[in-house]
Amino acid sequence: MTRRLIFEVSRPGRRARAQAPAAESAAPADLPAALIRDREALLPAVSELDVVRHYTRLSQLNFSIDTNSYPLGSCTMKYNPRACHRLASLPGFLDVHPAAPDASVQGLLECLHELQEMLAAVTGMEAITLAPMAGAQGEFAGVAMFKAYHQARGDHGRDEIIVPDAAHGTNPATAAMCGLKVREIATGKDGDIELAALDEALGPRTAGIMLTNPSTLGVFERHILEISRRVHAAGGLLYYDGANLNALLGRVLPGDMGFDAVHLNLHKTFSTPHGGGGPGAGAVGVASSLKPFLPVPYVEQAEGTYRWRTDSPDSIGKLAANGGNIGVLLRAWVYLRMLGREGLQRVADHAVLNANYLAFRLAEEGFDLAYPERRAGHEFVISLKRLRDRTGVTAADFAKAMLDEGFHAPTVYFPLLVPECLLIEPTETESPEALDALIEAMVRIRDAALSDPEAVRSAPHRMPIQRPDEVLAARKPDLAHAPALRSRAGSSDEA
């Protein structure tokens, strides 16, 4: 199937007339001629209908939560309530310039302040900043605050961050961005951290440890209180990667577990949309000891009025041009207000119920759980190693076949510790019927792998494309449509 690019729909001279100023404007006389383009920017020339039809059709090639189940481990692909989108899109919120005086945006600041308070309550943290624009920025803020904390105490030798080998890739990448060394520690056979490995890593160079709980293996770290005690005793701090908070929402507070800083992926637990890869939001909460180092700005309330706090002498600084991804924050605010106090635990309860049900039923059907003796959190890992050894069908093949069944693939080959693994997270918003349909689909694929492995190895067969050649894509990168750029004057390099 060949689909046209918008550049191939383009006809010189055509344009969407209603969207640009009607006035024909001559080149401004007060600008030096050398600064003015001598030809139009290289963009498509199309009508409004061309655009609407082209991109509507493109959208139809996508899976999305609105159209498909996404049992995508570690990503918490739950339903994104439409009310969040509608209400965050009210003109009174959208038309606010970031430089508008605080007095003119009290309604907006009240929402953000309320969100800060609610997130502090659900994490057990003292203070929240909403500035980080994604989980990775939240992590950066957290680790940078650890560094600032130790330095402020004159404790200069702490240049190591401990990260379990099962951690998300952002954890070590963040530590490196903060100029700290990463010290990986092993996970034991039962999925918990090996305390002996922790003890060996801890010392006067320990700035802190980054943990996800439940871990990326989908199991609750049972030694968490002991870990917390030992890390603190060694002078280090604990960072909670909130990617898996959905498993504990309202039931267990990161603050109670001993964490000093937390980031929350609002696009996971708090239901803001993934938008095909962003924007997200990575609010960060801290214990009182870290409050002076919070990134700016955050919202403060005094005597009934709200204001952006932009000055804070010990702050690690700014992370975003403005106050963060406010449109995303408003969606999380709407979600939490709708969920309410009584709804928090229902999220975790049903997420955990769905995951345990799915894990139990898949095990009944003969799939291998990576940690069969452990209780699943909100997600779990299965290994297809036996199936691969018998049929040659890999986890990646299996994932592709799931697309043909109308399910988005689970996370594959992560965590790195389990061979041929699928990380499956149903979330609380999928009904039991949807889970049963997923189980039936996985059984069908497994049976097909046994009877006709080649059919599964070449899946998918019913998607808009067959399997793409990723080796070619990486060897000969084609990152822009060359004919659309060909008429350029004075190109810098051959693309």
Partner: protein, 128 residues
Amino acid sequence: MSEIPTDLKYTSEHEWVRREDSGTLVVGLTDYAQEQLGDLVYVDTPEVGASFAAGDVCAVVESVKAASDVYSPAGGEVVAVNESLQDSPEKISDDPYGGGWLFEMAPEDPAEWEELLDPDQYEELLDS
């Protein structure tokens, strides 16, 4: 079974090293290494003139879903790199001991050559 030419020395990081008559060392990845890496898509070679200590990361080879470091087998200065890998990284897979060579270096301490693994030792490493 991977091929292990007998006229080369090896490292535990699956690199081969050939000493030229001039005393310079030519470095590449072993057949075993290229098999493990799968289809290579990019090689980040060092710059001519760069200096490394033995064990320093001096190059990176990338497949679609992995990036692997290449460690300098000895201390010294890079005197030549295989520029053709920029356009044809697949040479490493097709001809690991020939056209897939990575770079050539002038060693600081010729004695380091002696410490590298001989073919039998490397084969033992693969078997273990």
